[in-house]
Symmetry: C2
Subunit: 192 residues, 2 copies
DNA sequence: CCATTTGTATACTCAGATGTAAATAAAAGC
DNA sequence: GCTTTTATTTACATCTGAGTATACAAATGG
């Protein structure tokens, strides 16, 4: 009597489940990074058993790389090779809003995990290079150009994360303000 | 014949050894954070066996807290409650130069480790509050004040790390430029 | 010279996490 | 209905790393 009729449990197709696992894994890993997150944490976040994870991924490392790969791909698709055009910052904001956990995971954790740095290195190296090229006409090569071209991508990323933390107010205004903040760094690197 | 006379190995006093272990642990943990660093890594970095570590620290966690505590104390001693006076940035630079590994460890790793966030939380909360107070007369309360007061401490820290990475050129000029970069963020948060 | 301190070597226990295997059950699709 | 796919459960096997115990060796300091 007290026994409820078990509601028919909706099963997912393989590809769908895989995506759902990647979503959950992104959330789980975003909390504390690779080493401090167990597969049981991921499984719990996905609402399944650990065993299922192994039907979709060879190993923990394999899964993590898949998570980072997806986040990276999404980011590159949204931002594109749109190096410093006016749409770069708005599209960065869109990308972060679309996948905030992935965004945080990439830049706050993966970038500091030596074992997986290769996945974010291309991204950061590319953005540093873009910054350096855009700085070149205005700042003579040397330590301050180095300083600024390292700092600018970081400030861009951290501005976006601060925007997420502040509740994502008005994306258009945010883009302008972030642009202004970056401009401030460029000014600061100017010879005086 | 071939046997060398073993050079008499200089032994350290207890306190001295403890400091040396803390130095080595700071370097080791600065590479990949708490979870991804084993006690064997630390012992190897210190040039001793793992067993010795337990003569100075109760546990891995205990040791890590001691490392963070020391880095934190040093930082506070150097920077002081010198909230936004003109000497704040120069002293931040001095502190980072004096203990670069500790500096990186605190802000790049410990700040992202939920288990140890309490140790850096007071620091970051304090600096965010200082930023907010200094912003108050110029920026109306609201999401952009939130945004800027979160971002400013981060930009300060990241500017310093970028300065370390760029080879620590001219500390005085660096202080001015970092001040200018922060000013740029304040400008960016201004109502428009 | 003798006690204390400091370091080494080795071997062990224990816990947690990764990864595997097999039997069972239920949903989906034909 | 019958097969295939997907999920659960339970039970292992294995490994790494934390933490402990003990016996030994060498330096220090009186």
């Amino acid at each position: 009597m007290t026994a409820q009729q078990a509601a028919p449990v909706r099963r997912m197709r393989r590809a769908e489940r895989r995506e759902q696992i990647l979503d959950a894994a992104t959330r789980a890993f975003a909390r504390a990074g690779f080493a401090a997150t167990s597969l049981d944490d991921v499984a719990a976040e996905a609402g399944i058993t650990r065993v299922i994870l192994y039907r979709h991924f060879e190993s923990k490392t394999d899964m993590y790389r898949a998570v980072l790969d997806r986040a990276c791909t999404r980011l590159v698709e949204q931002v594109g090779a749109d190096d410093f055009g006016g749409e770069a910052i708005p599209s960065l904001l869109r990308a972060a809003a679309a996948d905030p956990d992935g965004f945080r995971l990439l830049f706050r954790h993966a970038a500091r995990e030596p074992e997986f740095r290769d996945l974010t290195d291309t991204l950061t190296a590319a953005s540093v290079e873009i910054a350096r090229k855009n700085l070149a006409p205005r700042i003579p090569p040397g330590p301050w150009a180095d300083w600024a071209s390292r700092l600018i991508p970081t400030v861009a990323i951290e501005s976006v994360i601060a925007w997420l933390d502040a509740g994502r107010p008005d994306p258009d205004a945010a883009a302008e303000r972030i642009g202004a903040a970056i401009h401030g760094v460029i000014q600061a690197a100017q010879p005086r």
